[in-house]
């Protein structure tokens, strides 16, 4: 299943914590014109480097779909950054 939500939280020593929730599907739809261009560029790159286009896209999609559950939490003193993909 593809990722649904990206959560970013930044705690700073001074000031309020920043929390950002990014719904993945709407963002993909919003960026779809650019993504189509990027996919075309990737396909050309695959042909230039003699890599199977279908295999490359299949692997990319599988990587994307395997992202849910990923979580990075970094704390340094009173500063903390959390990135979570659900």
């Amino acid at each position: 299943m593809m990722p649904q939500l990206l959560t970013v939280r930044v705690n700073r020593p001074r000031g309020r914590a920043i929390r950002i929730w990014v719904p993945v599907l709407p963002v993909i739809l919003l960026l779809s014109p650019f993504l189509i261009l990027a996919a075309l560029a990737a396909a050309v790159a695959c042909l230039v480097y003699r890599v199977k286009v279908t295999q490359a896209f299949g692997t990319g999609w599988r990587l994307f779909c395997a992202l849910p559950g990923t979580r990075f939490d970094v704390q340094e003193g009173r500063t903390a950054v959390l990135v979570s993909i659900r």
């Binding site: 490359a56 559950g69 990075f72 939490d73």
Partner: protein, 140 residues
């Protein structure tokens, strides 16, 4: 009482089979049933889903912590990227590795072998304990 046993007793009640035949059928039924596992020891161990990395550091008196969780599924998908590396890139990488004294032939590295490696990560636990840093890598 399970359905098969009921059926056998029903056949016996209807007179379609003799008591000896019913006994043989029930005995055969009991032989075919798998033994019930006692406690949780009989259950297969739950498969690990995530690779965890925990780093605790102490730099200039300030504690630092890194806590990362990566799905093993992502690693499995990632090793498939090895199949996408162009052959000419592998040849050049082999040459550079050879120059650096690491004679590894990357063309012999198959995605299936890497996947088998990821499969065996379940049991792995790596701990590094230093006075100012502690690293722990494990699967859960």
């Amino acid at each position: 009482m399970n359905e098969q046993r009921k059926d056998i007793l029903g056949l016996l009640a209807e007179g379609k089979i003799t008591p000896d035949e019913a006994e043989q059928l029930i005995a055969a039924l009991e032989r075919d049933q798998p033994p019930v596992a006692a406690g949780s020891e009989g259950r297969p161990k739950a498969k690990a889903k995530y690779l965890r990395l925990e780093v605790d550091t102490l730099e200039n008196g300030e504690p630092g912590r890194v806590n990362a969780r990566v799905p093993l599924q992502l690693l499995r998908a990632g090793v498939r990227l090895a199949a996408l590396i162009p052959p000419q890139a592998l040849t050049r990488a082999n040459a550079e590795l050879g120059k650096s004294g690491v004679p590894i032939d990357l063309t012999q590295l198959k995605p299936e072998q890497l996947e088998a490696l990821v499969e065996q990560l379940d049991e792995m636990t790596l701990e590094v304990d230093q006075p100012d840093a502690k690293v722990r890598i494990f699967c859960e």
